[in-house]
Each structure stands twice: as C-alpha cells, then as structure tokens.
Symmetry: C2
Subunit: 242 residues, 2 copies
C-alpha cells in the first residue's frame, strides 16, 4: 500500500479518529485514513501541536507548514465556528482532528459537523478507535441497548443520584450504562460505585485501550470491593450492567 497514491480527495468534511495510545498507526487506523489525510491541507483541530504530531506520524513527508489549521476547543466562541468551513465553499476538502479517539464523540467537533450538515456539505466519518465502543465490545454487556452518559457529576449528591438512575436503567430497561471520569479520579469513582450500588451488579473497567497495558476486566461489584487496582494514571472507560 502506497501512502501517496491518492492525489485528489473529494470535497467533504472528513472526520479523522486519532489513536488513544502510543504505538503504530497501523494498529488502530485503516490505511485509507492516511491516504485521505495526505490529500487534505485544511484542518479543524482541537490542538494544533498534537494534530501536527498526528499528521507527521501518518506521513513523515507531510508538508505541515503549507497547511491551514483552525482551532476548535471548549474555549472557541460559537461565532468563530462557521467561518472555519469556508475552505469547503472554495472546493477544498477539510479534516477534523481531535485529541484522541473519534471527533464529535465525547469530544469537541459536533458543532462544526452540525454547521456542515446545515450547509449541505458532504460529511464523511472515518473508522478509528473509540474507547466507548471497544469497552462495550470487551465488556460482555448488552450491546443491543446502551447509553453513554459522559462524565459522572462531581457533586456527591448529584453523583449518588446519577448512580441510582443508572441502576434503574440497567434493571428496568436492560440497558448498559457507560461513563468516563478524569483519570486521577478513576480509583475514587470505583470506590464510590462499590459503596453505592448492589454487589451483584457488574462493573467493567476498560483501561489503556489499544496500548501496551490494555486491560478489560468485568467483575461483580462485590469482587471490585476486595480487588487491588490502580487506574489513576490510565485513561479508562467504565461500564455498568447486571
């Protein structure tokens, strides 16, 4: 497969997933992603530095200085977003690159995709690693019905309420509940869950996905209550089910 054999890329907004962990690009991205990337010069990115690093990793010969980067993160004012898509109007294909994982999923990017949809531009989501989906696959939990809830509330009372709601959705709707936490609070969230919910419910912790220390462990809360673990320095995703 030659990385340079696509010379012309159709005008569209391409959504480029980014690796979740260190390691070879071929571990987590299809070859076509790299080929498309090589035909695009205009990017909307969460962080310019890491986007440049990603592009360099996909193609060592990429001429990054000739590329245009628009920054889209939680600080970007709403009014600054629509003009980012102007290159599409001029016929240039564009790429969205986030920090890790899939653009627009638990991540900025959805706003710019929504505007592209309103304007009728073609939007092309590409294949790549998603901790939500890989955690669900590896958990053994119900994949026919599931909800991703983002971050758990930090406030103790709100957090208790959210945990009870999750329990209700598991029992009454047979729905797998998926959420994340800031890595340095991972151990704490497991302790909170163990203290708040019945020991027979199951928790899956998927950590370091696609990396050298990848681990996907599903066990009842009664097991987690006695287990020794340390997830505080590893990105992890949490899944609850019966």
């Amino acid at each position: 497969m030659n990385d340079n054999n696509i010379t012309s890329v159709e005008t569209a907004l391409y959504l480029f997933p980014v690796p979740l962990a260190d390691g070879a690009i071929v571990r987590v991205l299809p070859a076509v992603n790299t080929q498309l990337l090589n035909g695009i010069s205009h990017f909307i990115v969460e962080n310019v530095r890491s986007a440049r690093r990603f592009i360099k990793k996909c193609n060592h010969a990429a001429d990054i200085d000739s590329m245009t980067f628009y920054v889209l993160n939680r600080q970007t004012p709403a009014a600054a977003i629509p003009p980012m898509l102007d290159p599409l109007a001029q016929g240039h294909p564009m790429g969205v690159i986030s920090e890790a994982g899939c653009p627009a999923v638990a991540d900025p990017g959805a706003d710019v995709v929504a505007i592209a949809q309103q304007r009728g531009y073609k939007v092309v989501p590409l294949v790549g690693p998603s901790s939500i989906l890989m955690g669900l696959m590896g958990s053994g939990f119900n994949g026919q019905s599931f909800a991703f809830l983002g971050y758990l509330p930090i406030d103790k009372e709100q957090r208790q309420k959210q945990l009870r709601n999750m329990q209700k959705m598991i029992v009454s709707h047979d729905q797998t509940q998926i959420f994340i936490e800031t890595p340095y609070r991972n151990n704490r969230v497991i302790a909170d869950i163990v203290a708040s919910l019945p020991g027979s419910l199951k928790l899956c912790v998927a950590s370091g996905l696609t990396g050298a220390s990848e681990s996907v462990i599903t066990q009842p809360l009664s097991w987690w209550a006695k287990a020794k673990f340390d997830y505080d320095k590893t990105p992890a995703i949490f899944l609850l089910y019966k």
Copy 2:
C-alpha cells in the same frame, strides 16, 4: 506492511470487526487486524460462510480448511456457548467474527465475551467500523450523551410510545437517540417519525456507511416530511436530536 509478519499471537479472545459494505479491507480495518487474524485458527462466528469469505479477503493464502469454526447466532442454545471457549484453555488464541460491524454490539457475541470474562481470559476488542459510532460522528448531534436503543418496536402503539420516550430523553436529558430498522422498513420508519414528532426535531439518516453510496444527512423533520428519499434497500442507522 507484511501481512505475514506475526507468527505467534498471545492467547486471548480477539473481537474482529467486519466491513459494513463491499470494498477494500484497507478502507475500514487497521493492518494489525489482518496480522492477528493470520495467527488464529479457532473462531466463533455468526455465519461460517461469510466468516470464511472475510478471512479469505484478509489473506488470500489463508488455509481455511485447517481452521475450526464454532457457530454462535440467535438460534444457539445457551448451553452450547461455554464449550466454544475450550481452545483458550489449551492456549490457543481465538477470534469472534460477526456478520457486519463490531462483534457484541447490536449483534450476537456478547454472551461468549461474558463467559470469557467470567473465566478470566484476556479479551481484546479490535478497531473497526461501527454504524452507530460513525452515524453519531457524522450527525453533528450531541456526542457527550447518547443512547442506542436497537430496533424500534413493530407494534404501532409500542412504537408510538418509544418515539415519545425518545423525544422526552432528547428534551429533558439532552441525549441523542440512536436506533435501527430492518432495511425494507426504512422508508416506513421515517414516515412514522415525521408523523409522530415535532417538525423542529432533527433526524439524521446515515446509510450505506463506508460503501460507494454512503450518505449522512441531518435535517429537521419538517424537511424530511417533504424530502424524496428511498432507503429501503440500504442498511441505515437513524439518529434523533433537537
């Protein structure tokens, strides 16, 4: 990248996503998936014929006649599932291959993963195409909170109830609602949604993902009410949001 440069694969249950559409494997799967596949001889599959076709597509030289296939589909009795994992006890890596998309997500496979987890085997989810995730990425809808609900009920009253529940979750929980339908009922489900929910809600239809006729369109229900479309022969995923 040489497809044959992995000779020994660690003992684990590997979850292999399968393309959603015709076309080159490099369009949708990382090269590592093919390398791992080449080191595995024991598979749990939804359909032997299509699994053999997938393996041949990944590696024309694969010696399929020397491989062992266990069939896991909706007809498989629960008691038949645990013995399928016996090769793992003997130190053989195993693969799970479903019909299309990601094993164990809107698809059989979760049962065997759950048993592997109970027995403490290593489970390795691999990267590949998921219509749920790619639809969400391309929709421009909220990716911080979303629910996948599987198939809509066929019964008219149940379906109305489900649609109203989805509307409630969108409005009160700011949660994107995702569901599927049997392809020959795709046009019908769009008509039902348009007739049942406010015209200001938005529907995204992502169809033929990763294929030549791929399309991801987000528009208000008032637009869909007047639009001409025909999705009845295309696999599609539906997303609702405000």
